[in-house]
Symmetry: C2
Subunit: 218 residues, 2 copies
Amino acid sequence: MPGARTSAHPIFTVQPREPLDERRVEHLSALAAEVRRLNEATVHTALPEEELTELTAQVRALTDRLDAARRAFPPVSGDGYTTPGEGMLQQIASPVTGELNPIAPPCRIEFLEDGSVRTEFTLNFLYEGPPGLAHGGVSAMVLDQLLGLAANNNGTPGLTASLELRYRRPTPLGQRLTAEARIDRIEGRKAYAVGRILNAEGKVTIEATAMFVMPMLG
Amino acid sequence: MPGARTSAHPIFTVQPREPLDERRVEHLSALAAEVRRLNEATVHTALPEEELTELTAQVRALTDRLDAARRAFPPVSGDGYTTPGEGMLQQIASPVTGELNPIAPPCRIEFLEDGSVRTEFTLNFLYEGPPGLAHGGVSAMVLDQLLGLAANNNGTPGLTASLELRYRRPTPLGQRLTAEARIDRIEGRKAYAVGRILNAEGKVTIEATAMFVMPMLG
């Protein structure tokens, strides 16, 4: 298949994905943004049961229409997967950063000149753990992605081999959070990254370290 | 407010939540199940742009109808929050286990007699990290929840203080996964839990340890 590359390492068999042009990405992003709002409305609604039944049927009908033309894999931006490093940046349907993925907050990433990465984001009640607070696992998910992107931005992309999180104070919902990550050191095929989440007052809520192993491409 | 309890520890201020009866939970679960399918259809659709624009407007209209009667916080089952331990089990809108939360897989938990907890679940492309594989952060989220439930099931519920993950082999999408967790030991107010995810062949893909600190309730 043209453009498809496979590697000796079975986990990095690169599947061909349909790359989208900008216009199509915009349309799908607009749809995903509305579905994201629908997700939130679903956990907050207090509508009477008769109306819920009616709306449930309407959602089903919408899904059936979208599925009438269905691709096997989520699309990517750019040229499709070529290398794992480029692939990560092209994942417009990522559960953390993907504008096209309705379950992503989504976290928009800034790639800084010093090689570090940064994102500002807000979590709503879809991401709740303890009452009024972010789910510890949701924060872990954001940090895993961000530390992975730091490794990527450093030119040393890899798969997560270990991830360690220290929860210092609660991470609130509904307020602007900042997450940042950078590469600490490289040892052979291992990239060590560090990162953290800060609350709106700039206080650290969670610290993270991760080790990524760079794949050997065939 | 009747049933509301607050604690000296500000993070465990227990917010009053509206408890739902079983019938209402069923209706909201049915809605969430359809919205979950819509999320998946959104990342897979190959519909032409004109249709996407039309469907986007329809999703917006549905959201506006659901939001016409909106509660400030997601609902819970049972009697509403009384203790953190009970509260965790009543979180029917949890991002991991919540039937009412469209972004949750959702993982249905079994509480075993030996005190351990277990779930069988499948992740679709909404949860993709590397091509064809589960996002490492999504797996971390599932494990954080499961280890927390093990602490809860042990009668020692708490907030995540640390979480460590070792990724042993890839965690595939689209196949039945099993996750299990149990309490390893208790030291004062600290509960140490261990857990793992297994692939369909029963091989460990990720190992996790976590420490939970039990709150002091006022």
